[in-house]
Amino acid sequence: MAFRDGPFENIKVPLAWTAAVVVIVGIIGAVMLLLGDSRQSRNVGGYAPVRAGFETGAAPVGGVLSAPVRWTGNAVDYVKGYFFAVSENRRLRAEIVELNAWRDEALALKNLNGRYEQMLGVKTEPPVPMVTGLAITDARGPFARSRLLNIGAAKGIHVGNPVLSEHGLVGRIMGAAAGNSRMLLLTDVASRTPVLVERTDARAMLTGDGSGSPRLDYIRGAGSVQEGDRIMTSGDGGGFPRGLPIGVAAKGVDGTWRVKLFSDRSAIDYVRVLLFQDFSQLADQNALNAAPLASLAAAPPPTPAQAAAIQDVATRRAAAAAATAERVRAANAAPPPAPVAAPTPVPARTPTAAAARPAAVRPATPQPRPVAPRPAAPAPQPVAPAPDAEPTPAGAAE
């Protein structure tokens, strides 16, 4: 009997039910993915290789698609530069006149600052190397704001490196493959950046929320922020170097303090990645990790004169030690002095006197006395309290 002729001929599983089963399985899988992923710890999680592999495939596509846009932009800039050359020239001349005064003042201040740092012994931060790259894709949604860059770990980029445009800080690296990396923007909802207000030196936390202007949270001090204050990185925590420009403070429509980013002034296409990780890279790790006497092993061999002097000192010390040991041995081997007889007759021993003064047991042979080390300097005598001094009560000092 064929199967279609059997009792299961009319049994049909509705397609909607099977689709519903697939939906439920998919939802369970998505929840498992959510539980396993955390954007704060994505670089130590198990999905980092998956993301890196995906971005390695997506980067060339983004690069190809963004190239015409870049070429068009360059062409537009070229045409604008041609037609507006005269007005641009006037503007630049005025700007140069203004900047010359600033340059002279900056040079004077730099000189003065260097002298102060030298006098105070301030340990300044060394210059940080940079790598220039290009943003090839852009995520602008409320739940993720990031960009894919065409430079990666092959150029020394690490997770956490700050990223700047020509106007200021843009974000930081959150994932790096060999040839590309992903940059988390300051506006991303997962972004937290310790900042300071330049005018008052007040600290705050720049918190992204998916909008164009991130929030200023945890502002320290009342009235420490005003409209138009410049905001820059504070360097607290070591994630960013101090003093990178971010933007200016402004009141948001919701009444919170927000920051208008300098990087919004133009498109974020070319970016610079600071190869800065944290404060630990500013210290010499080899010097910190070296054993205290490790330098003796790496010292050059002594000269013959130094070797002879070292040998002489060692011989003298050995001879002195041997002489000391010989003296101690001779002193211990000498017989004890004979007891002196008492001139008075010994009274009759009574049980009471014998019980009151027990006879000391003298050893048959003299025991060697331990050699006490001789102190180099006389030990300070304990200060005895004056006889008429009152004892200090226990709680007097409290």
Binding site: A19, A20, V23, I24, D37, Y47, P142, F143
Partner: protein
């Protein structure tokens, strides 16, 4: 003489695979860092159109699988939390699938209202997941900035339903 009748078979390739590939391509295209007069390109969540239209066309085992893949693609491509969009898209698909018997043959205005509700549901889920996982809520204005372009894609969903809905009662 009887004329031969051409029977056109519409399989999953036509109404599932091709739209999914188009959604991926448009998402990649809209991610170009292009800026004109200070404005960027919009960033709608294109697979929401498919999550809404597919269960109204007909139930399928392939559609939820493809939706899961599309959500995973969005998370990886945008650099978001993994699992965020698969869950939101499948939740929309499942809800529409449950109510598909009541929604078949409804007027376009009713479908639009349903599309608005579905999009709102998907974004509400994504909002809650992001808030819970990161401890910080995204800006409502920023969310609206993505919801509105997604709502404007309703004509695509309506066209997809009209094009492929065969009203075959065997699938009801």
């Amino acid at each position: 003489m009887r004329r031969a009748i051409t029977v056109r078979v519409v399989g999953p390739l036509q109404w599932i695979v091709y739209p999914a590939l188009i959604a991926i391509a448009v998402t990649v295209l809209l991610a170009i860092p292009f800026r004109l007069f200070g404005l960027n390109l919009p960033e709608p969540v294109l697979p929401i159109v498919l999550a809404f239209a597919w269960p109204l066309i007909r139930p399928s085992m392939l559609a939820p699988l493809v939706l899961f893949g599309l959500g995973l693609f969005l998370d990886l491509f945008w650099g978001g939390t993994l699992g965020l969009w698969p869950l939101s898209l499948l939740a929309v698909y499942g809800a529409i699938l449950l109510a598909s018997n009541f929604l078949a043959g409804q007027a376009t205005i009713v479908l639009f209202a349903l599309y608005v509700a579905s999009t709102g549901f998907a974004f509400f889920l994504a909002y809650m997941i992001t808030t819970l996982s990161l401890g910080s809520a995204p800006s409502i204005l920023a969310v609206l900035g993505q919801v509105v372009p997604t709502l404007l894609l309703f004509p695509l969903a309506d066209w997809l339903i009209q094009r492929f809905d065969d009203a075959d009662v065997r699938f009801r």
